[in-house]
Symmetry: C2
């Protein structure tokens, strides 16, 4: 019994730069939460055993996906108000619903439901940003999902932080509380945007994050209106503003980055700033289409994000990959503009890089964390299966049968193992009914 888990007889897609693209009849061995070995079944020692053997016949084995941006608790507002102008949606629906319903219990149960949805659709690492992030962290740990959990900072009274003067201090306390508590969770700070946080707040938050060696997330250049507002208030554009006040570096993740000038792309590249792109949210809210090809060409590390459920309305990165590839093809009227391979990279190792976790997750490589998913590819909609591009253009999260995070089996045969999903759905439904 040398291994904890041994997956056998499977098609392996390592998505690692130094590995073959596909191992047609292969195995993956997991021990102490780590990928111990992987390769062809022909090279598996006869004596190799494991506490748990998973027959991967008819399955594709790949690294779990990395969601670089969401607001998990907003699952409560999923589909509550669609197809509306942005300001009507925000001011007449989302903000009032948040004011009425956001409390630690809501955040906890909704984050747990979001974790279930993500695990069931193949996400094993997620970056979250919201208020009362303590309760998100608690829910994620119980759900067994890996995360970067970021406490929200905004220059207005917020749930859990009635006095905005304490917003950075509250985030600092959150980071201290969680910094060494679980190998599955890295705490961070999430500044809402350059139009809801003053330059002083952003500088304070960044200084605090630097001291604590934590990441800083921020919505940036999402809409044309935001760019105009920042220009009016600060006489410059969002990326330039953040650069001028010293907020951009390799531990800052800018989310959306739809409305950028070429020079701003170069600023992001020069400072090593990471980017999370959320194509479905940008399409549904009609924010625009990010200059993704240009950002990738400039060498920026870009990952995929689903955004929160109020604006997507799902947390399924398979959909996100497909939307991402297709929107950039049609944007440029060029079918080669963005390939399936590039999008698969963004959803795995690229996303891991955005979260500073490229040495820990994002590919199936010996020594890395055992964050692994299995997909059932013997289904009518995935046949024939010529190459991994079909994961982008043909699969969905519903094809994921099994998920392992840090060597722990968290989903098998589409059943979540660490907690009771029915109880979670009932709790969230009760809150939805009272909204």
């Amino acid at each position: 019994m040398e291994n904890d888990i041994l997956i056998i007889n499977s098609t392996i897609l390592p998505l690692a730069p130094d590995m073959p693209e596909l191992i047609r009849q292969g195995y993956v061995a997991v021990k102490d939460g780590i990928i111990a070995a992987l390769g062809s079944m022909a090279d598996l020692a006869d004596a190799a055993g494991a506490e748990k053997i998973i027959d991967g016949s008819g399955r594709l084995v790949m690294p779990g996906l990395v969601n670089t941006h969401t607001h998990a608790p907003m699952i409560l507002f999923r589909g509550m108000a669609d197809d509306l102008p942005l300001m009507t949606w925000l001011h007449e629906h989302i903000f009032p619903a948040e004011a009425k319903s956001v409390n630690p219990e809501m955040v906890y149960w909704c984050a747990k439901l979001a974790a279930a949805e993500m695990i069931l659709s193949g996400t094993t690492t997620v970056a979250d940003g919201y208020f009362l992030e303590n309760s998100v962290a608690q829910a994620f740990i119980e759900a067994g999902i890996r995360s970067v959990a970021a406490q929200g900072v905004i220059d207005f009274p917020a749930p859990g932080v009635p006095d905005p003067k304490r917003n950075v201090a509250a985030a600092a306390e959150f980071i201290e509380d969680w910094q060494s508590r679980s190998p599955l969770l890295n705490p961070a700070v999430f500044c809402h945007s350059p139009y809801t946080c003053s330059p002083e707040t952003l500088q304070n938050a960044k200084a605090m994050a630097r001291r604590k060696n934590a990441q800083l997330f921020i919505h940036l250049a999402e809409t044309r209106a935001e760019v105009e507002q920042v220009r009016e208030q600060h006489g410059t554009t969002p990326v330039r503003l953040l650069d001028e006040i010293g907020v951009l570096d390799k531990d800052t993740v800018c989310v959306h980055c739809v409305w950028l000038e070429q020079e701003e792309i170069e600023v992001l590249a020069r400072t090593g700033t990471r980017v999370s792109t959320c194509p479905q949210s940008n399409m549904k809210l009609a924010s625009g289409i990010a200059p993704l090809k240009e950002m990738l060409a400039a060498g920026i590390t870009v990952g995929l994000g689903t955004d929160g459920c109020a604006s997507n309305n799902r947390l399924d990165l398979f959909f996100e990959m497909d939307f991402c590839a297709k929107i950039h093809k049609v944007k440029d009227l060029d079918p080669t503009a963005l390939s399936a391979a590039t999008v698969l990279h963004m959803a795995t190792l690229g996303g891991a890089g955005v979260l500073g976790l490229e040495n820990a997750v994002g590919s199936l490589s010996p020594g890395k964390q055992a964050d692994i998913i299995l997909l059932d590819i013997i289904q009518p909609h995935l046949q024939p299966f010529y190459n991994p591009g079909l994961l982008v253009y043909g699969a969905s999260g519903a094809d994921v049968t099994t998920a392992i995070i840090g060597g722990k089996l968290v989903m098998q045969d589409r059943k979540i193992l660490p907690f009771d999903v029915n109880e979670t759905m009932i709790e969230v439904r009760k809150m939805a009914e009272s909204l």
Copy 2:
């Protein structure tokens, strides 16, 4: 036992103009292939019984979806060659693969696999166009799916029609063969395009279709290159060309319609011509974005199509609805540009209208064909469920648990009942391996 099937305790979404939007706790009764009644459980007679009772608790019941354009046999080429320039893709991959592999056996098995994929994702009516359409028709009838099956016409030697002079005659024979054979199938003619069929061919095909009271399908204004080519060859634009030669009327379905001038939209509206829009295909092949809002505003009946699997790569209309709504929002930078309700209509009653079947299918109305699907909405990614918009922005075909076509149960608990799907997958895989 007055009914054949009785669905009880379910959320009903009739999508019929004269019905309530949602019946929260309702029933649907089916007799002799027809929807006999539907309504609130409170109004269901105590004595009501049925040969088969389906407990629809936790399910949403809605009309089966209508796919207005595909090439079912092209499932063999799914994912074979993605992310390539259009001409490389066509001339170096698709055309050679077709030349090598298209024969009656291939068409039969691949159409059957396509039928399985469509039924499993909630499609109950499909319009297909390909060569050797006899074999598609045979496969569809055996699969139990409702269809408009159209024999391909092209001015080149084609599978089954080596002499292009016989192309319209072959289509006429196909229509005669199938016109009264099954209540599930309407035969039709599919002229490939205005750049592969001469005006004479198009006129002959249309005259033949008129005599036989059959529909004519044609790819039209799909790419900018096509518009330029038609202009060079005929000195006019695709829609104007078809109008001038008398091919446009309410029984002609123009597929794609991406590159239209406003005046051409008015021509389509004036002639009552129907349109099938295929947003995913148009995005993946980078053809462009159709002027859908303008077509709908002009009063044109528009349905959704998946296109064939070589260019999508899936036959799941839930994905198509989502892509359709989001691409048109971001195109106009207007989140109200296309609503979930409009897209749901296009995938049901609107699509039925495109196929001339609006009195037979597309809504749950007493007297209509019993083409019904059930979705499991008690899943993490579909909770909370505030309104039917979530079907567009949150659901996928994998959420469909049950499908009934013409009163016959064709899928239950995600198992296809009329035929052996495993055998079908094995046959198609063998062909794929020999490609």
